[in-house]
């Protein structure tokens, strides 16, 4: 069942009662849900998100926002749906962790402003912390289509929390891995190698950085990019009530003048992807 189609113009969201095609557990806290939602997949740009109802009843009541992870195709290459990379955080995500093939979930999307992939000769660096990996499968795929050279800096707590490496290497992505416990890649935070490589790179090569992860990580990446003179785009994850611009719950502070004044804008319609330089990182809460 697709609703909204009759009213839809251009790239407006649709609401699909999508069948769960597969639920692939990755860890006790992580899974990938594949959803039959061709109408959403067709228009979804990298970094856009969907709002998913997690319960049949009224508790939990609100939908939950998720980045569109993969565009899913059938054997003939036809777009048949999307997947989401889900991390168990509370009641809603726990339900999605436990979802079973055949279940149906209301999925609204695609929503929000996407990451805009850069063309060669510019280079693209993606920086992902934990479940912040979610938007980058489609970013990487779009970059690959453009032939842009790309690197993924990907950090997690430990080796078993690093997923889908081959998806990225398969697209020609150079991987730089870090784990907090040192069980894989470089020990420590993902911003370590990022800072080093930024310092070491030739200054004349255009570079765009895309980041998603915990707010402190994104703040650090924004600062590093600023110092290095590279544009940084981040995907924020504030609490969202509606995803459509209706409720004003998801606001983030934007610098609206040089005197340090800020203005609150809705990240569901003006984001979730923002140019890091426009955000007021001092005012931005340290996330959920």
């Amino acid at each position: 069942m697709i609703r909204g189609a009759a009213y839809t113009v251009g790239l407006m969201p649709v609401d699909v009662l999508a069948e769960v095609v597969a639920n692939t557990p990755l860890a006790p806290d992580y899974n990938v849900l594949t959803l039959a939602a061709p109408a959403i997949a067709k228009h979804a740009a990298p970094g856009q998100f969907v709002m998913i109802r997690t319960a049949a009843g009224l508790d939990p009541l609100l939908r939950r926002p998720f980045s569109i992870f993969e565009h899913v195709r059938d054997a003939d290459g036809r777009l048949v749906g999307i997947s989401i990379l889900n991390k168990r955080a509370g009641a809603g995500t726990a339900r999605l962790y436990a979802a079973r093939p055949g279940d149906r979930l209301a999925v609204l999307g695609p929503l929000g402003r996407p990451f805009v992939p850069v063309h060669p000769p510019a280079e693209a660096w993606m920086v992902a912390g934990g479940v912040g990996l979610a938007p980058f499968a489609s970013v990487a795929s779009a970059l690959a289509d453009l032939g842009t050279s790309m690197t993924l800096f990907y950090g997690a707590r430990s080796a078993r929390d690093l997923y889908y490496e081959s998806l990225f290497t398969g697209l020609g992505t150079r991987l730089v891995l870090t784990t907090e416990d040192g069980s894989r890649g470089e020990p420590g935070r993902v911003t370590g190698p990022l800072a080093r490589e930024l310092a070491a790179r030739p200054a004349d090569r255009p570079l765009t950085i895309y980041a998603c992860g915990p707010t402190p990580m994104m703040r650090a990446v924004a600062r590093l990019g600023d110092t290095a003179g590279c544009p940084v785009y981040v995907s924020l994850e504030p609490v969202m009530g509606c995803g459509m611009g209706g409720c004003y719950s998801c606001v983030v502070p934007i610098r609206h003048d040089d005197a340090g004044g800020t203005h609150l804008v809705r990240s569901c319609v003006d984001g979730p992807v923002f140019a890091a330089a426009t955000l007021d990182w001092d005012q931005l809460g340290s996330g959920h």
Binding site: R3, G4, T8, L58, L61, M244, G246, Y248, L264
Partner: protein
Amino acid sequence: MADLSVRIGALTLRNPFMSASGCFGYGVEYADAIDLASLGAVVVKGLFLEPREGHAPPRIVETPAGMINAIGLQGIGVRRFVAEKMPELRRLGATVIVNVCGTTIDEYCEVSRVLADTEGVAAIELNISCPNIKEGGIQFGCSLAGTHDVVSAVRRVTTLPLFPKLTPNVTDVASFARAAEEAGADAVSLVNTFLAMAIDVETRTPMLSNVMGGLSGPAIRPIAVRMVWECRQAVKLPIIGIGGITSARDALEFFIAGATAVQVGTANFVDPFIWAGLTAGVDAYLDRHGLPRVADLVGQLQIPRKAHV
């Protein structure tokens, strides 16, 4: 196909379903997804005279079958609304009702005057019930004299239909409906949200930056239905029922309790395409019950004699 049109004072709406203020932005946000002209009316976000930044996030928190919000009436101010949003709303054929806020009676009057001079504003909903601002708002809504004063002051500056929006955070909501009626209101909207609060027990801090906020959603519906029914018996004014409506069945509860029209707030967050189902559902009900007009349902609650134990 039954007749879904309803009259609220001088205003005729094509159907009794409106967006609730603050739950539908300025309407234009939804214009690409749904046909705004298919709604009975679009009630836009509360507006003051000047732009307002609202409260710091977190601004919402979910609760069982409900949510608490403390948006703090972030908004662009009535003049920018008139200049930037009204042209598109007019072009789209929306019936526009503006939710008017103020910290003083003068401000309510001033905002209403601006709207009275604006083409395409169908009515004014007077927000004297927002729990999320310190000055004004609910202070008027929690006092009978305050309610009377605001409504009669605004009444003097505009002939637009005037719908004071009542707060449920009072002992006797019917007396407030009466005060509104005596002051010259054309209808009352009820209810606004219930003052509420949620605590993050791990940090022992409030979940909302503003500490308290307003509870909305299905959780409050049974209280809202009761208040509509109480007011139905107290006043002749049309009532616009609000609170936790998620389906045609829920809306029917409000009509039968005494509401001439209803607003949908929180449920629109969960389902932005809710409107077609509401009209279809009520239409099917009317057909099934052999009722030609939705207006025939209003206040039709039957109280049976207590025959059976």
